[in-house]
């Protein structure tokens, strides 16, 4: 199925969970925050939260700033 991840379309496995997506992208789950269709997915729900066809996913992390 297709999702939109950080503004780009991406082909992923059907019903992929957030935790799997993070692993696929080689990100550290302890350092990112996920927003799915406008709602924050808390870290405890990474393993259980499944994405749907057309889900809009945003991944954020801290960078240097003033």
């Amino acid at each position: 199925m297709r999702i939109v991840c950080n503004g780009e379309e991406r082909e992923v496995d059907r019903d992929i969970r957030v935790a799997e997506l993070i692993r696929t992208l080689e990100l550290d789950p302890a350092l990112v925050v996920v927003e799915c269709d406008g709602d924050i997915v808390i870290r405890d729900e990474f393993e259980s939260h499944t994405l749907k066809e057309g889900s809009v996913v945003e991944l954020f992390r801290f960078v240097g700033g003033g």
């Binding site: 992208l25 990100l27 925050v33 991944l59 992390r61 801290f62 240097g64 003033g66």
Partner: protein, 255 residues
């Protein structure tokens, strides 16, 4: 010792972590600044370069992270960024900044107050970045802000305390700590802010883009310390007429 929302800080210099040429230089400069509080920003993960993450670079045992809402142009965007920052594990502290105009990066007072009211209700410890407006500072204090962060001059301009007279009023009126933020381009600017009674200063650009950021960080640390000590020592008032430093007696033999 400086206390904000019940938390003690030995250093009155807060350091920004943006604009450094490398993580290695940033770490050394922050170390040299003696800062305990460091600001960070929240951004989309760059999926082409996911390693660019500050939490894996700076030791969170050693530094207290103050996430900012930089990039927010209205209250809704700031609230969204705040909630995301908390979810990533940034804690409840927040440097609230709402800057609608990228050219001036001046903070929007109405949207900042609106966002502060929402975020205080949600349990955030809110430190709003504001123009040096004494009325707004009081309004934010009444809304539950843990400190106020008025600007000396616009972000990244190195112009120092263009707002000094309003800063003095803010400091005189405030019941919460005043952290002078933005525009401090030299240690003397930081020292002046501390001399007039600011509780702390936040410096980023002047350190990060210096030829030698580590040396500049140490220089700012000294400036902040000198200014604070002068404030505590009690500065003399300005006079229009001279006042002799040497005795005016014992001069009878001259005339």
């Amino acid at each position: 010792m400086l206390s904000i929302a019940g938390r003690k800080f030995a250093s009155r210099l807060f350091a920004g972590t943006g604009k450094f040429s490398s993580s290695a230089v940033m770490i050394k400069a922050i170390e040299a600044s003696g800062a305990e509080m460091v600001t960070v920003a929240l951004r989309r993960v760059d999926l082409n370069d996911p390693s660019d993450d500050i939490m894996s670079v700076l030791d969170r045992e050693k530094y207290f992270f103050l996430p900012n809402t930089s990039g927010a142009r209205d209250a809704d965007e700031a609230v969204r960024l705040a909630r995301l920052a908390r979810a990533v594990g940034g804690g409840d502290w927040l440097k609230l900044e709402v800057t609608p105009d990228p050219r001036t990066l001046l903070p929007d007072p109405v949207e900042t107050l609106k966002a502060a009211e929402v975020l205080v209700k949600e349990g955030f410890t809110v430190l709003p970045y504001i123009n040096a407006d004494p009325v707004l500072a009081l309004r934010l204090q009444d809304a539950g802000a843990a400190a106020v962060m008025p600007l000396g001059s616009p972000i990244g301009t190195n112009q120092g305390l263009l707002t000094i007279h309003q800063l003095e009023i803010i400091i005189e009126q405030a019941r919460v700590p005043v952290v002078v933020d933005a525009g401090l381009g030299a240690p003397s600017h930081a020292a002046l802010a501390m001399e007039i009674g600011a509780d702390a200063v936040l410096v980023n650009t002047a350190i990060a883009v210096a030829q030698d950021p580590v040396k500049m960080a140490a220089a700012f640390a000294k400036g902040v310390l000198a200014g604070r000590e002068a404030f505590e020592a009690g500065l003399g008032s300005h006079r229009t007429e001279a006042s002799a430093s040497s005795p005016e007696t014992g001069l009878d033999f001259l005339r």
